[in-house]
């Protein structure tokens, strides 16, 4: 039995893996919900993002507890915990972006760009789930990781144009500018963190060889 099979291991390990998939699924839902909330200016959807983040916190605690109760070989545990923390951080910044958006009124062009960023983040998250599946399967993680980097590059391009345009925008007061700046930062941080999580998957994959 190879180490890849050991990754799946017994019942405890399988439970953790299922919870990790659920955790990533929550991030995908948060990004998709944020996209719809930005597009339609929907306050209910914005508060749903916070609910998803809270649910994510619960799942993260369960995962970490299971790991400390003995799931996985000891040398794998720190990297798995770190991976889960990164996904959780991505959920946190997505929630922060949703909260900041409640106080913002964006022009159509900026709104479209922000919705596109949230949409690409959701696609990145779906790809992260697919990449995670390769740890226990025959598929190549490298190509999934490349797809995530391609998506991240697209977000960087949109962010670059967006920031350049927003620098010329006149804000009413300090707080309007601060909230807008924080919103763009948090919105674009989700994809950075998903990319980091994908890098951690590579590390886990190497340690399974």
């Amino acid at each position: 039995m190879g180490l890849k099979n050991l990754f799946l291991g017994g019942k405890k390990e399988q439970e953790v893996i299922d919870k990790m998939k659920k955790h990533m699924g929550l991030l995908c839902s948060a990004c998709t919900t944020l996209k719809a909330a930005i597009k339609n200016r929907d306050e209910d959807l914005l508060s749903n993002v916070s609910d998803l983040e809270r649910e994510g916190d619960i799942v993260r605690r369960e995962i970490v507890s299971s790991i400390y109760e003995g799931a996985f070989l000891p040398f794998l545990r720190p990297n798995i915990c770190r991976f889960v923390e990164i996904v959780d951080n991505a959920l946190d910044v997505t929630k922060d972006a949703a909260i900041e958006y409640t106080d913002l009124w964006l022009d159509e062009e900026t709104k479209d760009d922000c919705a596109r960023i949230a949409d690409i983040s959701a696609k990145m998250c779906e790809m992260l789930l697919v990449a995670f599946g390769t740890l226990s399967g025959p598929d190549d993680l490298r190509e999934k990781s490349l797809a995530i980097r391609i998506y991240e590059k697209k977000i960087d391009e949109i962010k670059f144009d967006l920031i350049k345009r927003l620098r010329t925008k006149v804000t009413k007061n300090f707080w309007e500018g601060k909230i807008l700046s924080d919103f763009i930062h948090d919105l674009t941080s989700t994809s950075d963190l998903i990319e980091d999580a994908s890098d951690y998957l590579q590390i886990i994959n190497i340690s399974l060889r």
Partner: protein
């Protein structure tokens, strides 16, 4: 994967009377490799000027980019595709005409641009998603 998923909606335009040097400046500032050239008049059509045109037709021939008009080296007519076209079809067109960019046309209007890099990225994403043959 459809063209809509990979196309770039942000297009930079330039007038045919502008100099090639103006075009170079615009490309450097905006970090892009092509500009859409507006029609000269109502009878004219859109054209495209790329870094490749500038390097091969101007710089490599030691011509002065400040003295040559964009319209003189513009490629016309454009190869157009539709938003719902599969990217495999776009790849075939790019290979057939030996071009690296096609224009997305919507009812005689320009809706976006697709570069060979966009097609490659889209194709890799499709393969990673598992929706395209390995």
């Amino acid at each position: 994967m459809k063209v809509e998923e990979v196309m770039n909606k942000k297009i930079e335009y330039i007038e045919p009377e502008a100099t090639v040097y103006d075009a170079i400046e615009r490309m450097v500032d905006k970090r892009i490799r092509s500009l859409l050239v507006n029609p000269k008049d109502e009878q004219d059509v859109y054209g495209l000027i790329t870094v490749r045109d500038i390097v091969f037709k101007i710089i490599n021939k030691n011509l002065n980019p400040g003295k040559i008009k964009v319209g003189e080296i513009t490629s016309k007519p454009l190869v157009c595709v539709t938003k719902d076209m599969p990217i495999e079809h776009v790849m075939a067109l790019m290979e057939k005409f030996n071009i690296a960019r096609v224009i997305v046309c919507e009812e005689k209007k320009v809706g976006g641009i697709v570069s060979i890099f966009d097609v490659m990225a889209g194709s890799l994403i499709e393969k990673a998603r598992g929706t395209r043959g390995a």
